[in-house]
Amino acid sequence: MATTACFIIVSRNDIPIYEAEVGSAVKKEDAAHQHQFILHAALDIVQDLAWTTSAMFLKATDRFNDLVVSVYVTAGHILNILMLLHDSRNEDGIKSFFQEVHELYIKILLNPLYLPGSRITSSHFDTKVRALARKYL
């Protein structure tokens, strides 16, 4: 399992709809905002890159010091971005993680009570994502 891993789902207009620290490292005080900064900055790269390829998994798109941002773009008509900030090099694991989280996310979208673009508050989703993180990262 990766020591640092911050997973985030970004909806249209850069609004994060789900955030989770899924790393095994002891949570530091300043880690949360630092991770957000890095992920937010990486969106610039993602926006350019997303339209140049048909692949959904964009691999490592950006890095800051030893932290790498891996990105998975969903195929929605709006650009929904799954981003993971991590320090491990396990690309296959990350890809599987993204794919499974994507499935979970689609299930969330199918919920008629869920308004697309709003925050994901489902605790079920949260536990599932954390379990996946433990499994793959």
Binding site: D14, I17, H33, Q36, H40, A41, A42, L43, D44
Partner: protein, 958 residues
């Protein structure tokens, strides 16, 4: 991009200015003194004229090259004491000064809004990055000047300056040039001491006669050569300082010296003479000298190094040397070594702008240095190759590769190369910027920032952020991120103003997005730093946004709140904040309870739905408008009400219930929470009410609230709210005068320093459920017509059991109290369960237990009308018509509770009464009471037993 753009770029301008021949100044103390009269050093005096722009010097570097013309040329005048590697502390302090000067210059108003994003985007490159950046970069690059591994800083020529007042001036020329007087690099063989020499006799016209000077000058011409000698007259201005239209020195010198002191003895003639001197120096001497040297060296190099045979020979020779020493500091190259000579050739060619010749020599040299493993020299050569390729604007890729190699090689050298790496990186970034590759430039600047101390890193990061802004398309998020990184570094190096500036610019990107941690971090730090600078108002403005940070961990919440309170404490006054969210007040939970004609005996009665009361009170109270008995009733018979809002009495409390929620995990101490009310004694629109005082109290200015204690009685509430807790708060206001009362909001004090206000916002569309009245808009519910005090009955039934058994029969005492001074009459009562609760006759009260079972004496029935209630129309009981309750009195009445089956029962009782002798809108009131009784099953054991006894007895008889 064509070469025009290259020549216009800031890097090429910079290279034309900074990589230019160095002219060393050697002067006697008296000569220096003559200059000091003008508050200028010799170097400063010459400096404004170091650029000769209107020259036309044809240059032909090598025989096989076409001649070309140099139109402008710059010299660098350096005094002999400065020909050495600069002290790092000096550089660091000068850089610090640049930054702090800039922070003082950038006047920004912390109160103003941070720069808007679209404004930033519309700015051009020069507008975006402040001018002090280039000054900073230049100073940073100068940290590594006069290094031994590059020759463009080595003096090409020297000016030997002797004052005409010197004794034995001719011998002084020789003394100045003696080897042990020269700066150390020249002595130690790092730099070539053989250079172009030019002798100047500095004549101070104030000190000596011109004759003496011309005599010495004639001697100079004889001994030192006609072309190498020159007479320079200064301080010819004897009168008051002539105001030069543009004093060329002033812009170069800042500090304590007054501007009028500078150059006050220099006349126009002196100025022109200096100009002429420098022009001649560059065009007639230095350029031809360099040209000549290039030709000589080139010939030498061609003979020894070029061609296939020489290459092989060189390689062979190098191989033999390979295992000798791995020399990374490269001190093995003296100025006379072949490598240094090639380097000089390359640098001279670069300075004379023959970049192709320069490149070919640098290429040659780089392989040599690489083989020798002289990495610093190698990096230096790669750097120059990159720059030459840039100036030629050929093969972009190559120039980048060269600079990158140089940068990485310098970095590998560790501490000795880090400053060089920084300079190289700056040039590299500038080159990328000049080519429009801003993003790559930003990456380079970021890499530099990793190697530098925090202040330098901060400036680098800020420059990187502007690169992102200027890249196409603009990368705003990266821009903001790097601004924040820069701000952080500025903070480390205690440049708080810069830190605030960068954070505020970053805020424009982060605004209005859901990235909560980012927003909190940025706002919190701006707030904290502003507080350091004692700009508390602005600081608090930033802090307010982050106080309600329920997503943050406990420690962060604590930190935010603690810092905020600390800032408020430092402000030295109580801070008043409207819409303070600590604790937050939920608008939907707001309930207002007041009594108009409907009064309540207990709080449980208040919460019963109005419909239940209305159906109970039907037929008892006179019809009120709004209540239709059936659709046939025409509504127009109803008299229009005088006032459509709520009515309340003087001296009767209006209760406001609402929920407060602590959004944080830490406990909050809230003190003196009370309602904010406005009361005005102005007459109603209809003019019916006369105001008694005529004063208008307006609590919009909240400070006046305390003055109104005569008119209003406000309850205060102190409590500590634990983390995450929701608590219901009840606040009362009791008007003490007639008029209009409006409940505006609520105020409280948080932790003793912060006064928070919450206005009950008027949301007209949102209907709220009230405990009692029909659904009305909230605004209406918050304003009241306060009318004169009316009689009010309070009532209760004593000893009502909570639980009882079915079939129970017990007497209860019902008591009505009139605490007001008015008399009430014509009382009626309705009970929802008249079979359960039966009003008895007044006499029942006096009965003792056994007596009550006795048959009542019929003789006592004479005043029955007075003592029992008249039952009419189903559930309605009327008290005897004579029954009145005078002010301050109370009456008691017996009730019988007779329970039937087991169940839970809510008994609603409504008492109607009218006022005597009061002309008012309200001529009656009702008192509503609610009792809840649980009836349990009981058994009939006893009666069965008696029956059995009867049987036994009867059989015994028969």
């Amino acid at each position: 991009m064509d070469s025009d753009d290259v020549s216009k770029s800031s890097l090429s301008k910079y290279l034309h200015e900074e990589i230019t021949p160095v002219v060393m100044l050697l002067c006697t103390p008296l000569a220096e003194q003559a200059c000091r009269k003008n508050s200028l050093t010799l170097v400063q005096m010459l400096k404004p004229f170091s650029v000769s722009t209107n020259i036309q010097v044809p240059v032909r570097t090598t025989t096989d090259h076409q001649p070309y013309t140099l139109r402008s040329f710059k010299l660098r005048f350096v005094s002999d004491s400065d020909i050495r590697q600069p002290q790092q502390q000096d550089i660091v302090s000068s850089l610090k000064e640049v930054v702090s000067c800039a922070s003082d210059e950038t006047t920004y108003d912390p109160q103003s809004d941070p720069p808007q994003l679209h404004n930033l985007l519309s700015m051009s490159e020069s507008e975006v990055s402040p001018p002090w950046f280039s000054v900073f970069n230049r100073n940073l690059s100068q940290a590594v000047s006069f290094s031994e591994h590059e020759t463009f800083d080595h003096p090409v020529a020297c000016l030997v300056i002797v004052s005409s007042s010197d004794e034995h001036p001719m011998s002084k020329f020789g003394d100045l040039l003696s080897l042990d007087q020269l700066p150390t690099p020249l002595n130690q063989g790092v730099m070539d001491p053989r250079m172009l020499k030019h002798y100047i006799l500095l004549h101070d016209k104030q000190d000596n006669s011109t004759e003496k000077a011309s005599k010495i000058y004639a001697e100079m011409k004889n001994t030192l050569g006609l072309n190498q000698s020159r007479l320079l007259c200064i301080n010819s201005n004897k009168d008051e300082a002539i105001k030069l239209l543009e004093n060329p020195w002033i812009c170069n010198k800042t500090g304590s010296v007054q501007n009028h002191e500078i150059a006050r003895f220099l006349s126009i003639e002196d100025l022109n003479e200096i100009k002429e001197l420098v022009k001649d120096l560059s065009s007639k001497m230095i350029i031809p000298y360099m040209e000549q040297k290039i030709r000589n060296l080139n010939q030498q190099v061609s003979a020894t190094r070029r061609g296939f045979r020489n290459q092989i020979k060189n390689l062979w020779w190098r191989k033999g040397k390979e295992d000798a020493l791995d020399n990374s500091n490269g001190s093995m190259y003296t100025y006379s070594s072949t490598e240094s000579q090639i380097r000089i050739l390359g640098d001279y060619a670069f300075m004379l702008r023959d970049y192709e010749l320069a490149i070919s020599n640098f290429r040659l040299l780089s392989t040599d240095y690489k083989l020798d493993k002289a990495w610093k020299h190698y990096a230096g050569v790669q750097e120059m190759m990159g720059l030459s390729l840039f100036m030629l604007d050929q093969s972009r890729k190559d120039s980048e590769v060269c600079l990158e190699t140089a940068f990485n090689t310098y970095l590998k050298l560790g501490s000795s190369g880090s400053k060089n790496a920084t300079r190289c990186g700056l040039w590299w970034a500038e080159m990328l910027k000049a080519r429009g590759q801003h993003k790559e430039g930003a990456d380079v600047l970021f890499r530099i920032s990793c190697e530098e101390p925090s202040l330098h890193a901060a400036v680098m990061l800020e420059q990187a952020s502007y690169c992102y802004l200027l890249s196409n398309p603009p990368m705003l998020r990266k821009f903001a991120f790097h601004l924040v990184l820069a701000g952080n570094q500025y903070n480390f190096s205690e440049q708080r103003k810069h830190a605030i500036r960068t954070y505020r610019s970053a805020l424009s990107v982060y605004k209005e997005s859901g990235w909560s941690y980012i927003n909190d971090h940025v706002n919190f730090n701006i707030g904290r730093w502003l507080a350091f600078l004692e700009m508390f108002d602005a600081s608090i403005k930033n802090m307010l946004g982050i106080l309600e940070c329920s997503h943050q961990p406990l420690t962060t919440q604590n930190l935010f709140l603690k810092d905020f309170l600390h800032i408020v404490k430092n402000m030295g006054k109580k801070l008043e904040i409207s819409k303070l969210q600590l604790p937050s007040i939920s608008a939907s939970s707001l309930k207002v309870i007041f009594e108009d004609h409907r009064t309540y005996a207990s709080s449980s009665a208040v919460h019963v739905r109005e419909k239940i009361w209305q159906s109970l009170e039907e037929n008892m109270v006179p019809p009120v408008n709004g209540i239709k008995s059936n659709w046939l009733d025409s509504r127009k018979i109803q008299t229009p009400k005088k006032y459509s809002g709520n009515v309340s009495m003087v001296g009767e409390a209006i209760k406001v219930y609402f929920e407060v929620k602590n959004p944080l995990q830490i406990s909050l101490s809230v003190s003196s929470m009370s309602l904010l009310c406005e009361i005005s004694a102005k007459p109603t629109v209809e003019g019916e009410k006369k105001s008694n005082t005529g004063e208008i109290f307006d609590t919009r200015d909240q400070n006046d609230c305390t003055l109104e204690h005569n008119q209003l009685e406000l309850s205060e509430h102190n409590f500590v709210l634990e983390g995450g807790v929701i608590k219901e708060v009840q606040l009362d206001v009791t008007p003490q005068m007639e008029g209009f009362l409006k409940i505006v909001g609520v105020k409280w004090t948080l932790s003793g320093y912060v006064v928070g206000y919450h206005k009950f916002d008027v949301d007209l569309k949102k209907k709220c459920k009230k405990g009692k009245s029909i659904v009305r808009s909230q605004k209406q519910n918050m304003s009241f017509l306060v009318v004169k005090g009316l009689p009010k009955l309070e009532g209760c039934i004593h000893q009502v059991p909570k639980t009882t058994y079915s079939g129970d029969l017990r007497p209860l005492t019902f008591e009505l109290r009139n605490k007001t001074k008015y008399t009430v009459k014509n009382m009626k009562m309705k009970i929802s369960h008249p079979r359960l609760l039966i009003p008895g006759s007044s006499g029942d009260l006096d009965l003792e237990f056994p007596d009550c079972l006795k048959k009542q004496n019929s003789s006592e029935d004479k005043n029955i009308q007075a003592e029992i209630m008249h039952k009419s129309g189903g559930l309605l009981f009327s008290f005897p018509t004579t029954a009145k309750i005078n002010g301050g009195e109370n009456i008691q009445w017996p009730f019988w509770l007779h329970t039937a089956v087991s169940e839970k029962i809510s008994i609603y009782i409504s008492i109607y009464y009218e006022m005597e002798n009061i002309s008012c809108d309200l001529h009656y009131r009702t008192l509503r009471m609610l009792y809840e009784i649980e009836v349990k099953q009981s058994c009939y054991v006893l009666s069965f037993f008696t029956l059995e006894v009867f049987f036994v007895v009867s059989t015994f008889i028969y």
